[in-house]
Amino acid sequence: MNLNNFFADFGLVFLLKWFLPFLFLGQLIFLLIVARQIKLMSNLFKTNMDFLLKGANWLLLAITFLGLLFCFGSRSLDYWPTIFGG
């Protein structure tokens, strides 16, 4: 990372580049907490729909994780040129 040019191109693109990975990380943590809550709540109230809830939450977790990977995986394109000097 070139610290001398860190804020050189400060703007919307710069903010988004930093903001998006943290957004996906936050969503991932949120969904992990929800997964735990669903498990705990199933002791208090459980119906035949329970497996659907768990399945949907895992699907959302996968989608969010894919987003996080996408943030880092798109370095080879024009996503991280300034931050990582790509």
């Binding site: 919307l12 693109v13 988004l16 580049k17 998006l20 957004l23 996906f24 969503q27 949120f30 969904l31 907490i33 929800v34 809550q37 669903i38 705990l40 709540m41 002791n43 208090l44 109230f45 459980k46 119906t47 035949n48 729909m49 809830l53 949907a56 939450n57 959302l60 989608i63 969010t64 987003g67 996408f70 943030c71 798109s74 394109l77 024009d78 996503y79």
Partner: protein
């Protein structure tokens, strides 16, 4: 030879009947004794039937299930059955549903009008993807909040499960006998149109008041609770 007939003493005939007499009919109640469980069982069954009859006075509908199958709740006894399961009225989900629709349409408008045209292609794609995930999470948290905010009226007690912001939860229950006072209120334009409102149950338990908020058919549910209380206390 004279035959002397001795008249039996009072009470003796019953104890020692003559050999020629008909065999006594077996008195079942005497054999089973006063501690027999049969009458108690019958009474209990009748009480349960009464509970079920009371529960069926209301028709199932949106957010209200009568004797649903496969429902398990906190500390459920083996012989305990859920009579009524209450969620908030589905129309109360309108805010998050509308928000989700707006967020989805924003995504389509973005594609159509190319609002993020100035951004690099991969970043634009990532922003759209993040927006889509955010939209799904808004819908998911709204749905879970509705699903887990549940009230159960069983044939033994009432249970209220509150689930706030997907992080906090509160569970309170009270046996039917401990119900002291049932109040319901309805208000607001949507409440009157869609027939939903709040029910407040005063109990003699640790938590003096149990609340069923924005549930459908509050008057009928309150009436059911009163009848169940009377049936339980008799």
């Amino acid at each position: 030879m004279a035959v002397i007939y001795k008249a039996p003493k009072e009470g003796q005939e019953k104890q020692n009947p003559p050999a020629t007499a008909q065999p006594p009919v077996e008195d079942k109640t005497e054999r089973e004794g006063p501690s027999s469980l049969k009458p108690v069982k019958r009474r209990r069954k009748n009480k349960r039937d009464l509970y079920h009859d009371i529960a069926h006075e209301i028709h199932p509908g949106a957010g209200l299930q009568i004797e649903p199958k496969g429902v398990k709740f906190a500390d459920k006894d083996k012989d305990e059955e859920a009579l009524v399961v209450l969620h908030r009225h589905p129309v109360t989900n309108a805010p998050w549903i509308i928000l989700t629709i707006i967020m989805f349409f924003t995504l389509f408008f973005n594609f159509h009008f190319n609002w993020l045209g100035s951004l690099p292609v991969s970043l634009r794609l990532t922003v759209n993807y993040a927006w889509l995930v955010l939209t799904l999470l808004v819908a998911w948290s709204g749905l879970l909040s509705w699903y887990f905010n549940v009230s159960v009226i069983s044939d033994k007690r009432i249970i209220d499960v509150d689930f706030h912001d997907l992080i906090y939860r509160e569970v309170s229950d009270a046996s039917l006998e401990k119900i002291e006072d049932v109040t319901h209120n309805m208000g607001g334009l949507f409440g009157i149109i869609f027939n939903f409102g709040d029910i407040y149950v005063q109990t003699a338990g640790a938590k003096p008041q149990i609340e069923f908020l924005k549930v459908p058919h509050p008057a009928q549910v309150a009436s059911i609770l009163r009848k169940l209380r009377e049936a339980a206390s008799n």
